[in-house]
């Protein structure tokens, strides 16, 4: 556990030592703020429903930037060899890196908490719905990060890692659009994979175990795949 925290801490402080993280933080929060103002002004509703939708769409762009370097940079610098020759298990490395990125992502999310305060000040929002909405998009972000981490473990190149993550996240995000072009068993798989459908339930205040299982199993699957790609040093072989 101590080593997981040590790696997470290194990862997190790494974000604050690089300019990209600040750019992501400022851009994300600014865009969230603008949309928050526009949506509230337009809808005149005491809800963050549409703001959440904008946020989850932006995650598709933000997460690859956060995760592209996680493993790709270690391989580029040669520090992967260092990590892998310390008495640390590969799972500890994966979990440490995941935790570090997740904490940074959570910090970005925390910047949106004042929205609740603002709405609460002027109106009477449904606190429970807002809370489940936050849980939903946080889980979605956590899932996206796991996907990004997995992709980053496949390659040495940060650019390749970012582009592949975009492709995968776009697919997960827009899977519902593909449903009508497919049929049978394949259609039901794509329907299940569609991330928006699952988050939507959280946003409207529906907590269901199947949605939670979708995200958690997705995260576990990606982390296990990441570990396997480190075990097999897949980046040396493709």
């Amino acid at each position: 556990m101590k080593k997981i925290f040590a790696i997470a801490n290194k990862e997190l402080s790494g974000y604050f030592r690089s300019p990209i993280a600040y750019v992501v933080l400022i851009v994300a929060v600014t865009v969230f703020n603008v949309f928050f103002f526009m949506i509230i002004d337009e809808n005149q509703e005491a809800t963050l429903r549409d703001v959440f939708k904008v946020m989850e769409f932006l995650f598709v762009f933000i997460v690859p930037i956060l995760t592209m370097k996680v493993f790709a940079e270690e391989k580029q610098l040669g520090t992967m060899e260092f990590l892998m020759t310390t008495p640390t298990t590969h799972m500890q490395i994966v979990l440490g890196k995941y935790l570090g990125t997740l904490v940074f992502f959570t910090l970005i999310m925390c910047w949106t908490l004042p929205y609740y305060g603002i709405i609460k000040f002027f109106s009477h929002p449904d606190t429970m719905t807002m809370m489940t909405g936050y849980i939903g998009i946080w889980l979605e972000g956590a899932f996206f990060i796991a996907v990004g981490l997995m992709v980053s473990s496949w390659t040495r190149s940060q650019i390749v890692s970012a582009i592949l993550s975009y492709v995968l996240l776009f697919f997960l995000y827009f899977a519902s659009a593909l449903v009508k072009y497919t049929g049978g068993f394949f259609q039901s798989i794509i329907k299940y994979l569609d991330v928006m459908g699952h988050t939507q339930n959280f946003i409207v205040g529906l907590l269901s175990s199947s949605d939670a299982i979708y995200f958690i199993s997705g995260i576990v699957f990606c982390l296990v795949m990441t570990r396997i790609s480190i075990d097999t040093r897949i980046w040396d072989n493709i």
């Binding site: 030592r17 040669g78 520090t79 060899e81 020759t85 310390t86 040093r233």
Partner: protein, 307 residues
């Protein structure tokens, strides 16, 4: 301490290592020598349990590298060819991170980091960001990282590669300091480095070990010793004295001026002393100024092997 039994490694069609076997005792300093691409790095990566071997076994401190990699990692300090450094971290933060990952107890981390900072002479730059350091300093940070958990075995892959002469001296001095307590493996393609650092040499050629020998023995082939003798006297007497000595044969004589000659002799009887020769010189009233043995250089041996 380190045992390798018939290690082989294939990368697709390419055989990087072929049936490599050797044993290294505790406290030995061994140099792996070979041209670039000979398989040194692959061998080191297998010994550090970073790469799996295709066949064969390797043990470090009694632990099988493929079955128990974590136990091996605790015993080993490894410096890969490019020092594995995070350019954004400070030297101290990096060493602290390395200590955390390498199971140094929480209470000892601070002391241990300070100890290696001192041992590797890094105190002046401890709060500097690694990316701003010179290559020599970076290499020393790499070595500091390798020894921060007091490993029994240290494996250094081309530790002086790309350094300037003064940096090379510093790094060599540092490696020599390590040897007192630990087993050290150093790989290099620089021949003189092995002569200065190691006591035993393993020469690797195209994935095979072609020489495994004590360095002294390797450099002086036992059956032929070349001797150079500087003497003062008359040429006729000098040649007579050499003729009277059974254990040497004259190859050449060169006049250096003022009755001083340099003789090039060959030791034919394989004796380790030159008592008989000196006695004969004295008998003829010849003054002996200098006797020196010409040792083979590693360069000559290396070129011969790599022909």
């Amino acid at each position: 301490m380190i045992v390798s039994k018939n290690l082989s490694k294939q990368f697709g069609e390419f055989e990087a290592l072929k049936n490599v076997s050797f044993e290294i005792e505790q406290g030995e300093i061994v140099g792996f020598l070979g041209q670039n691409g000979a398989g040194k790095t692959t061998l080191m990566r297998i010994l550090t349990a970073y790469l799996p071997s295709s066949s064969g076994q390797a043990f470090v401190g009694g632990e099988d590298v493929s079955l128990n990699p974590l136990a091996v990692h605790k015993k080993i300090g490894y410096l890969p060819e490019t020092p594995p450094l995070y350019p954004n971290m400070t030297v101290k933060a990096y060493l602290r991170f390395a200590a955390q990952l390498k199971d140094v107890g929480v209470k000892f981390q601070k002391a241990q980091v300070e100890h290696v900072l001192e041992e590797c002479r890094l105190e002046d730059v401890q709060n500097q960001v690694i990316g701003t350091l010179s290559r020599g300093y970076k290499q020393r940070v790499g070595i500091a990282q390798a020894i921060v958990h007091e490993p029994e075995v240290i494996i250094l892959d081309e530790p002086t590669n790309g350094l300037d002469p003064i940096q090379i001296l510093h790094v060599r001095e540092l490696i020599r300091k390590l040897e007192h307590k630990r087993t050290v493996i150093v790989s290099t393609h620089i021949l003189s480095e092995i002569e200065q650092l190691a006591k035993r040499v393993l020469i690797i050629k195209k994935g095979e070990i072609v020489v495994d020998s004590n360095l002294e023995k390797f450099l002086i082939p036992d059956d032929r010793k070349q001797i150079f003798v500087k003497v003062k006297g008359e040429e006729f007497h000098i040649e007579q004295a050499v003729k009277d000595t059974n254990s040497v044969k004259q190859i050449n004589i060169e006049f250096l001026g003022e009755d001083i000659y340099e003789l090039h002799l060959e030791n034919t009887n394989n004796v380790a002393h030159y008592g008989e020769l000196v006695q004969n010189f004295i008998k003829y009233g010849i003054k002996v100024i200098e006797i020196k043995e010409k040792k083979g250089t590693l360069e000559e041996a290396f070129l011969k092997i790599n022909k």
